[in-house]
């Protein structure tokens, strides 16, 4: 029983690491329809920004904000230049995913050149340990869970309570209709790039705080689980992404706790596969709907 409680505790920590990235990915994908595989490369850039701020002696929580800003700036830049260019040329959705993959390679290996192909260690005090029932978590782990919750609540509030959020949701459902209703689509798209880019950057920093090192491939290694959570949770839904992250986090830790650590991530992706097989409605509906790039 104690093992189960501890595993749940770990699962929640893992989930909060995945969730921020997944929430950013899901709103970006939900609105723009770009399945952006360069998202991982953007996380890497933000992770390096955090590393540099740590080296400069700046507080890591401030580093997290700076990493987020870096992610937002890079994302809107790519959105307004690269993605827009391709959308104008009539690039189709499945071609766009390949464009983003190529873009990801270009960014990653540019970072690799700047970083001279090295791995950089980050030292980060974990703080005191807290005992919550049978689970033991450190202050920094609790802080990461806190960050996850705060970001989720803020995102929900934004989507439900503000005019921007309403416009966002309207556009995600039907961009054409939203446009004809007088919603300034361009501004909404910009807001989406900025918000999702910020979350992407923060996610990169969170990953580094947990794994304590960064190199050019950091983001790419982290991307699959973020993607899985976003797809599993239903595209465009931060709530779904959070729940999916929880599911993935707990499943991963449970399987590892049961002694099959080689298969822990497999089990998590097994969940994704089962969902695709048994209840593909979310995915299928998207396919049946007329979907276009909105960038």
């Amino acid at each position: 029983m104690n093992v189960l409680v501890q595993t749940l505790g770990f699962g929640i920590v893992s989930a909060s690491i995945i969730a921020v990235g997944a929430m950013g990915f899901t709103i970006q994908f939900g609105l723009t329809n770009v399945l952006n595989l360069s998202y991982g490369a953007t996380m890497t850039v933000a992770a390096f920004v955090a590393y540099l701020t740590e080296q400069a002696g700046i507080n890591i929580w401030l580093g997290m904000v700076l990493g987020g800003v870096a992610g937002a700036v890079l994302t809107i830049f790519l959105g307004k230049t690269v993605f827009k260019l391709y959308a104008r040329r009539g690039t189709r959705l499945f071609e766009m995913v390949m464009v983003t993959l190529g873009l990801g390679l270009v960014i990653e290996y540019s970072v690799d050149i700047v970083a001279r192909d090295k791995i950089y260690s980050v030292s980060f005090p974990q703080g005191a340990s807290f005992h919550l029932g049978a689970a033991t978590l450190t202050a920094s782990q609790l802080a990461l869970v806190g960050v996850g919750i705060v970001i989720f609540l803020a995102l929900e509030a934004l989507l439900r309570l503000t005019r921007l959020g309403k416009a966002l949701r309207a556009m995600a459902v039907d961009p054409g209709l939203a446009r004809s209703c007088g919603i300034p689509t361009n501004r909404i798209v910009n807001a989406t790039w900025l918000i999702s880019g910020f979350l992407c950057g923060v996610a990169g920093v969170i990953y580094v705080i947990n794994s304590l090192s960064v190199d050019y491939s950091t983001g790419l290694l982290f991307l699959p689980v973020v993607l899985a959570a976003a797809i599993l949770g239903g595209v465009g839904s931060p709530r779904g992404a959070l729940l999916a992250s929880l599911l993935l986090g707990v499943v991963t830790e449970l399987v590892a706790a049961a002694g099959f650590s080689s298969y822990s991530s497999v089990a998590a992706f097994g969940v994704l596969v089962v969902v695709l097989l048994s209840k593909p409605s979310g995915v299928l509906n998207a396919a049946a709907r007329k979907v276009e790039l909105t960038v």
């Binding site: 690269v82 499945f94 464009v99 192909d117 298969y263």
Partner: protein, 386 residues
Amino acid sequence: MGHFSFYLSTIVVYFGIDLMAAWALNLQYGYAGVINFAFIVFQAAGAYVAGTVVLGPDTGTNSYQHYILGANLPFPVPLLAAALAGAVLSAVIGLFAVRRIRRDYQAAVMLIVSLILLQVVTSDIHLFNGANGITGIPHPLYTALGFSLSSYQWVYALWVLALCAVLYVIVERLGRSSWGRSLRAIRDQEDAAASLGLNGTLLRLEVFVIGGAIAGLSGGLLVEFIGAWSPGAWGYAETFVIFTALLVGGVGNNRGMLLGTLIVPILVLELPTFLPTIGYPGLIGAIQWIIIGLAWMLFLLLRPRGILPERRFRAPRPLADDTVRSAAARWVARVLTLGRPDMAPRGPRLGAAAGRAPVPDDVPVAGDPAVATARVRQAPSGADEG
């Protein structure tokens, strides 16, 4: 010169194997639009199986490598086993991956599959000896043939090229068969094709499995040549190399694959090893990947159909000079397609009976994928799934 000839034979073998891989990927992506970002996994499956079925049973006495499927199968059974391994794995993964889902989802799922399987094989040392991989795989028939190693390398190169020639005939014929046309139909207009009674998921599964078998075969040929296989050889990024050859050479064009394979794995990746070292070690490698990334972006922007775009398939010609050669090739294709009439190439007489006249190649016709694409591009929101 002896050493140089040795090197050259290696390059020819690699060229042939990459070419096979590119054709397999072209079947899947070029013909049917399946974005298989896990392609290298199927090549690896073939390599592992072809390797372990000649290593002998794993009795556990050998402390340095453990593996499954150990056996002592004679040439050429290991190659068939490799193709079978690729096909079986494709069938399993295809069951969820080639359903009618958005193709960008499909790409993402495939990428995840590639990373996960690599991780499983690396971490679970009981499958194929984990990270250290399997080693000591003998060259097939090396002692039986009695050649020197350098002569053997050329024999092997010719063997690979001969298989390439057979494979070319098969993939071309498959492409021109009614089955091939059905693939293009579901690729370009799945709704319309479905209304004509075509089962898109089944067709995609079929092409996925055939492509997987070819990938497995290419992996088997590679491992029998190099003698070892480990996770280092099939990182997810290896798929992108072959995909780049496809995008550059020409999507849907088997001859374009020839050009693409020459340009990407040989010119872009092999030639720079002759350059003097610049900067820190690894800089050239990083630049190569940036070039590959830029190639994807530029080709998708400026020439999304590659240097040699897909040829509109021609109507059959009722010609008298139907040679023994092509008859034999058709027979091979028929055997390999297990007698499925829709996969067999259409015979001249069949076409003649249908009363279709040859059409010059450069005149666009309805049903031409190029036309379909053009239509989609004019009204993207009207596309079935982008």
